[in-house]
Symmetry: C2
Subunit: 158 residues, 2 copies
Protein backbone atom coordinates (compact mmCIF):
# COMPACT_ATOMS: atom_id res chain seq x y z
CA UNK A 1 0.00 0.00 0.00
CA UNK A 2 1.49 3.35 -1.08
CA UNK A 3 1.11 5.99 1.63
CA UNK A 4 0.51 9.70 1.05
CA UNK A 5 2.02 12.42 3.27
CA UNK A 6 -1.10 12.68 5.45
CA UNK A 7 -1.09 8.94 6.10
CA UNK A 8 2.63 8.98 6.92
CA UNK A 9 2.04 11.75 9.47
CA UNK A 10 -0.95 9.88 10.89
CA UNK A 11 1.12 6.75 11.48
CA UNK A 12 4.10 8.69 12.86
CA UNK A 13 1.68 10.29 15.32
CA UNK A 14 0.81 6.78 16.48
CA UNK A 15 4.54 6.08 16.97
CA UNK A 16 4.76 9.37 18.91
CA UNK A 17 1.84 8.21 21.07
CA UNK A 18 3.92 5.12 21.92
CA UNK A 19 6.97 7.31 22.63
CA UNK A 20 4.92 9.40 25.07
CA UNK A 21 3.95 6.23 26.95
CA UNK A 22 7.68 5.59 27.44
CA UNK A 23 8.23 9.17 28.68
CA UNK A 24 5.39 8.81 31.20
CA UNK A 25 7.21 5.96 32.94
CA UNK A 26 10.64 7.59 32.80
CA UNK A 27 11.99 5.71 29.77
CA UNK A 28 13.79 7.51 26.94
CA UNK A 29 10.79 8.42 24.72
CA UNK A 30 11.06 6.32 21.58
CA UNK A 31 8.00 4.70 20.01
CA UNK A 32 7.35 2.44 17.05
CA UNK A 33 4.49 0.88 15.12
CA UNK A 34 4.32 -1.67 12.30
CA UNK A 35 1.67 -1.19 9.60
CA UNK A 36 0.27 -3.68 7.10
CA UNK A 37 -2.37 -2.73 4.52
CA UNK A 38 -3.20 0.41 6.46
CA UNK A 39 -3.68 -1.44 9.74
CA UNK A 40 -1.40 -1.23 12.79
CA UNK A 41 -0.26 -4.80 13.53
CA UNK A 42 2.47 -4.07 16.09
CA UNK A 43 3.23 -1.42 18.70
CA UNK A 44 6.15 -0.86 21.03
CA UNK A 45 7.84 1.70 23.22
CA UNK A 46 11.24 1.64 24.83
CA UNK A 47 11.19 -0.44 28.04
CA UNK A 48 14.92 -0.95 28.63
CA UNK A 49 15.03 0.40 32.18
CA UNK A 50 11.77 -1.12 33.41
CA UNK A 51 12.60 -4.54 32.01
CA UNK A 52 16.37 -4.16 32.66
CA UNK A 53 16.74 -5.78 29.25
CA UNK A 54 19.08 -4.34 26.60
CA UNK A 55 16.95 -5.71 23.76
CA UNK A 56 13.67 -4.02 24.75
CA UNK A 57 13.82 -1.20 22.21
CA UNK A 58 10.58 0.09 20.69
CA UNK A 59 11.26 -1.48 17.29
CA UNK A 60 12.03 -4.97 18.66
CA UNK A 61 8.80 -4.99 20.66
CA UNK A 62 6.73 -3.72 17.71
CA UNK A 63 8.25 -6.30 15.34
CA UNK A 64 7.67 -9.11 17.84
CA UNK A 65 4.01 -8.08 18.18
CA UNK A 66 3.65 -7.87 14.39
CA UNK A 67 5.23 -11.34 13.99
CA UNK A 68 2.81 -12.75 16.57
CA UNK A 69 -0.12 -10.97 14.94
CA UNK A 70 0.71 -12.38 11.49
CA UNK A 71 1.93 -15.74 12.90
CA UNK A 72 4.99 -15.26 10.68
CA UNK A 73 8.54 -13.99 11.13
CA UNK A 74 8.33 -12.59 7.60
CA UNK A 75 6.72 -9.16 7.12
CA UNK A 76 7.57 -8.44 3.46
CA UNK A 77 4.78 -5.92 2.83
CA UNK A 78 5.01 -4.16 6.19
CA UNK A 79 5.91 -0.55 6.95
CA UNK A 80 7.66 0.46 10.15
CA UNK A 81 7.31 3.92 11.73
CA UNK A 82 9.71 4.91 14.51
CA UNK A 83 10.33 8.27 16.14
CA UNK A 84 14.14 7.95 16.19
CA UNK A 85 16.57 6.54 13.63
CA UNK A 86 17.07 2.82 14.44
CA UNK A 87 20.25 1.55 16.13
CA UNK A 88 22.24 -1.41 14.68
CA UNK A 89 20.22 -3.98 16.65
CA UNK A 90 16.88 -2.62 15.48
CA UNK A 91 18.06 -2.09 11.90
CA UNK A 92 19.19 -5.72 11.94
CA UNK A 93 15.76 -6.81 13.20
CA UNK A 94 14.18 -4.87 10.32
CA UNK A 95 16.39 -6.80 7.88
CA UNK A 96 15.67 -10.11 9.62
CA UNK A 97 11.90 -9.58 9.46
CA UNK A 98 12.03 -8.48 5.79
CA UNK A 99 10.11 -5.25 6.47
CA UNK A 100 9.64 -3.34 3.23
CA UNK A 101 9.63 0.34 4.23
CA UNK A 102 11.00 2.30 7.19
CA UNK A 103 9.86 5.80 8.15
CA UNK A 104 11.60 7.60 10.98
CA UNK A 105 11.38 11.00 12.61
CA UNK A 106 14.63 12.34 14.07
CA UNK A 107 18.18 11.34 13.20
CA UNK A 108 20.40 9.75 15.86
CA UNK A 109 23.95 11.02 15.28
CA UNK A 110 25.30 8.84 18.13
CA UNK A 111 23.89 5.40 17.23
CA UNK A 112 21.90 5.71 13.99
CA UNK A 113 22.52 2.73 11.72
CA UNK A 114 20.30 3.83 8.81
CA UNK A 115 21.80 7.16 7.73
CA UNK A 116 24.00 8.66 10.45
CA UNK A 117 26.84 6.20 11.14
CA UNK A 118 26.25 3.28 8.77
CA UNK A 119 23.66 2.35 6.14
CA UNK A 120 22.46 -1.11 7.19
CA UNK A 121 19.11 -0.98 5.38
CA UNK A 122 20.61 -0.14 1.99
CA UNK A 123 23.63 -2.45 1.97
CA UNK A 124 23.06 -4.84 -0.94
CA UNK A 125 25.50 -7.40 0.48
CA UNK A 126 22.85 -8.40 3.02
CA UNK A 127 19.95 -10.56 1.85
CA UNK A 128 17.33 -7.83 2.30
CA UNK A 129 17.07 -4.08 1.88
CA UNK A 130 14.36 -1.70 3.07
CA UNK A 131 13.46 1.65 1.58
CA UNK A 132 13.81 4.56 4.00
CA UNK A 133 12.20 7.96 4.42
CA UNK A 134 13.30 10.20 7.28
CA UNK A 135 12.12 13.51 8.70
CA UNK A 136 8.44 12.55 9.23
CA UNK A 137 7.22 14.81 12.09
CA UNK A 138 10.92 15.32 12.82
CA UNK A 139 10.42 18.37 15.06
CA UNK A 140 7.88 16.63 17.32
CA UNK A 141 10.01 13.46 17.58
CA UNK A 142 13.18 15.41 18.39
CA UNK A 143 11.43 17.80 20.79
CA UNK A 144 10.03 14.92 22.86
CA UNK A 145 13.57 13.62 23.39
CA UNK A 146 15.00 17.08 24.10
CA UNK A 147 12.33 17.82 26.72
CA UNK A 148 12.88 14.42 28.35
CA UNK A 149 16.64 14.93 28.74
CA UNK A 150 16.18 18.56 29.84
CA UNK A 151 13.84 17.41 32.62
CA UNK A 152 16.37 14.79 33.74
CA UNK A 153 19.09 17.45 33.97
CA UNK A 154 16.76 19.74 35.95
CA UNK A 155 15.90 16.94 38.40
CA UNK A 156 19.60 16.18 38.89
CA UNK A 157 20.31 19.85 39.70
CA UNK A 158 17.59 19.80 42.38
CA UNK B 1 38.22 -13.13 34.10
CA UNK B 2 40.87 -14.01 31.50
CA UNK B 3 40.12 -17.35 29.81
CA UNK B 4 42.70 -19.86 28.64
CA UNK B 5 42.28 -21.95 25.47
CA UNK B 6 40.81 -24.91 27.34
CA UNK B 7 38.20 -22.72 29.00
CA UNK B 8 37.28 -21.10 25.67
CA UNK B 9 36.74 -24.55 24.14
CA UNK B 10 34.73 -25.64 27.17
CA UNK B 11 32.37 -22.71 26.84
CA UNK B 12 32.08 -23.03 23.05
CA UNK B 13 31.10 -26.65 23.63
CA UNK B 14 28.25 -25.36 25.77
CA UNK B 15 27.19 -23.08 22.90
CA UNK B 16 27.40 -26.12 20.58
CA UNK B 17 25.16 -28.02 23.01
CA UNK B 18 22.60 -25.21 22.58
CA UNK B 19 23.01 -25.35 18.79
CA UNK B 20 22.29 -29.10 18.82
CA UNK B 21 19.04 -28.41 20.71
CA UNK B 22 18.01 -26.18 17.79
CA UNK B 23 18.94 -28.90 15.24
CA UNK B 24 16.85 -31.46 17.13
CA UNK B 25 13.71 -29.40 16.57
CA UNK B 26 14.48 -28.52 12.95
CA UNK B 27 15.85 -25.02 13.55
CA UNK B 28 19.08 -23.84 11.91
CA UNK B 29 21.62 -24.99 14.54
CA UNK B 30 23.06 -21.90 16.17
CA UNK B 31 23.67 -21.73 19.91
CA UNK B 32 24.93 -19.11 22.35
CA UNK B 33 25.85 -18.72 25.99
CA UNK B 34 26.78 -15.70 28.12
CA UNK B 35 29.44 -16.17 30.79
CA UNK B 36 30.26 -14.04 33.84
CA UNK B 37 33.11 -14.86 36.24
CA UNK B 38 33.29 -18.38 34.87
CA UNK B 39 29.57 -19.02 35.33
CA UNK B 40 27.00 -19.42 32.52
CA UNK B 41 24.33 -16.75 33.14
CA UNK B 42 22.42 -16.99 29.85
CA UNK B 43 21.68 -19.65 27.23
CA UNK B 44 19.87 -19.53 23.91
CA UNK B 45 19.35 -21.39 20.68
CA UNK B 46 17.75 -20.27 17.47
CA UNK B 47 13.94 -20.47 17.70
CA UNK B 48 12.91 -18.38 14.70
CA UNK B 49 10.70 -20.98 13.01
CA UNK B 50 9.07 -22.37 16.16
CA UNK B 51 8.28 -18.93 17.51
CA UNK B 52 7.69 -17.42 14.04
CA UNK B 53 9.59 -14.45 15.43
CA UNK B 54 12.41 -12.80 13.46
CA UNK B 55 14.16 -11.66 16.66
CA UNK B 56 14.50 -15.09 18.28
CA UNK B 57 18.17 -15.64 17.43
CA UNK B 58 20.37 -17.58 19.88
CA UNK B 59 22.28 -14.45 20.96
CA UNK B 60 19.16 -12.38 21.69
CA UNK B 61 17.71 -15.14 23.86
CA UNK B 62 20.99 -15.67 25.72
CA UNK B 63 21.43 -11.93 26.35
CA UNK B 64 17.83 -11.62 27.56
CA UNK B 65 18.37 -14.49 30.01
CA UNK B 66 21.67 -12.96 31.18
CA UNK B 67 19.95 -9.57 31.69
CA UNK B 68 17.19 -11.25 33.71
CA UNK B 69 19.74 -13.25 35.70
CA UNK B 70 21.76 -10.13 36.61
CA UNK B 71 18.65 -7.91 36.89
CA UNK B 72 20.53 -5.44 34.70
CA UNK B 73 20.62 -4.55 31.00
CA UNK B 74 24.35 -3.85 31.41
CA UNK B 75 26.74 -6.81 31.19
CA UNK B 76 30.12 -5.00 31.09
CA UNK B 77 32.23 -7.93 32.33
CA UNK B 78 30.41 -10.63 30.38
CA UNK B 79 31.74 -12.92 27.66
CA UNK B 80 29.51 -14.22 24.86
CA UNK B 81 30.15 -17.50 23.04
CA UNK B 82 28.23 -18.21 19.83
CA UNK B 83 28.70 -20.94 17.23
CA UNK B 84 28.23 -18.62 14.22
CA UNK B 85 29.40 -15.06 13.56
CA UNK B 86 26.63 -12.71 14.77
CA UNK B 87 24.30 -10.92 12.33
CA UNK B 88 23.72 -7.12 12.51
CA UNK B 89 20.80 -7.51 14.95
CA UNK B 90 22.76 -9.69 17.36
CA UNK B 91 25.95 -7.60 17.04
CA UNK B 92 23.81 -4.57 17.89
CA UNK B 93 22.39 -6.38 20.94
CA UNK B 94 25.97 -7.14 22.05
CA UNK B 95 26.78 -3.39 21.80
CA UNK B 96 23.55 -2.45 23.59
CA UNK B 97 24.23 -4.82 26.49
CA UNK B 98 27.88 -3.65 26.79
CA UNK B 99 29.22 -7.22 26.61
CA UNK B 100 33.02 -7.15 26.92
CA UNK B 101 34.23 -10.11 24.85
CA UNK B 102 32.77 -12.13 21.97
CA UNK B 103 34.00 -15.59 20.94
CA UNK B 104 32.52 -17.21 17.86
CA UNK B 105 33.07 -20.43 15.93
CA UNK B 106 32.38 -20.24 12.20
CA UNK B 107 32.30 -17.16 9.98
CA UNK B 108 29.07 -16.19 8.22
CA UNK B 109 30.00 -14.77 4.79
CA UNK B 110 26.34 -13.97 4.01
CA UNK B 111 25.28 -12.02 7.11
CA UNK B 112 28.26 -11.73 9.46
CA UNK B 113 28.47 -8.26 11.01
CA UNK B 114 31.62 -8.78 13.07
CA UNK B 115 34.27 -9.65 10.46
CA UNK B 116 32.70 -10.80 7.19
CA UNK B 117 30.56 -7.90 5.86
CA UNK B 118 30.94 -5.12 8.42
CA UNK B 119 32.78 -4.64 11.72
CA UNK B 120 30.08 -3.51 14.14
CA UNK B 121 31.87 -4.53 17.34
CA UNK B 122 35.05 -2.60 16.55
CA UNK B 123 33.57 0.64 15.19
CA UNK B 124 34.70 3.36 17.60
CA UNK B 125 31.93 5.73 16.48
CA UNK B 126 29.47 3.67 18.52
CA UNK B 127 29.45 4.08 22.30
CA UNK B 128 30.76 0.58 22.99
CA UNK B 129 33.20 -1.88 21.47
CA UNK B 130 33.73 -5.56 22.23
CA UNK B 131 36.88 -7.57 21.73
CA UNK B 132 36.46 -10.50 19.35
CA UNK B 133 38.11 -13.89 18.90
CA UNK B 134 36.93 -16.19 16.13
CA UNK B 135 37.65 -19.76 15.11
CA UNK B 136 36.94 -21.42 18.51
CA UNK B 137 35.91 -25.03 17.64
CA UNK B 138 35.34 -23.68 14.13
CA UNK B 139 35.21 -27.11 12.46
CA UNK B 140 32.54 -28.47 14.83
CA UNK B 141 30.43 -25.29 14.55
CA UNK B 142 30.60 -25.24 10.75
CA UNK B 143 30.06 -29.00 10.41
CA UNK B 144 26.86 -28.86 12.45
CA UNK B 145 25.44 -26.29 10.01
CA UNK B 146 26.66 -28.17 6.92
CA UNK B 147 25.09 -31.44 8.10
CA UNK B 148 21.82 -29.66 8.89
CA UNK B 149 21.51 -28.11 5.43
CA UNK B 150 22.66 -31.33 3.74
CA UNK B 151 19.87 -33.24 5.50
CA UNK B 152 17.32 -30.63 4.40
CA UNK B 153 18.41 -31.02 0.77
CA UNK B 154 18.23 -34.82 1.05
CA UNK B 155 14.69 -34.62 2.50
CA UNK B 156 13.61 -32.31 -0.34
CA UNK B 157 14.96 -34.75 -2.95
CA UNK B 158 12.90 -37.56 -1.41
Amino acid sequence: MVLNDLQKKYFMNEALYEAKKAAQIGEVPIGCIVVLNGEIIGRGHNLREHAQDATMHAEILAIQEANANRKSWRLPEAQLFVTLEPCPMCSGAILNSRIKEVYYGAKDPKAGAVDSLINLLGDSRFNHQATVENGILEEECAQLLKTFFKNIRLKRKK
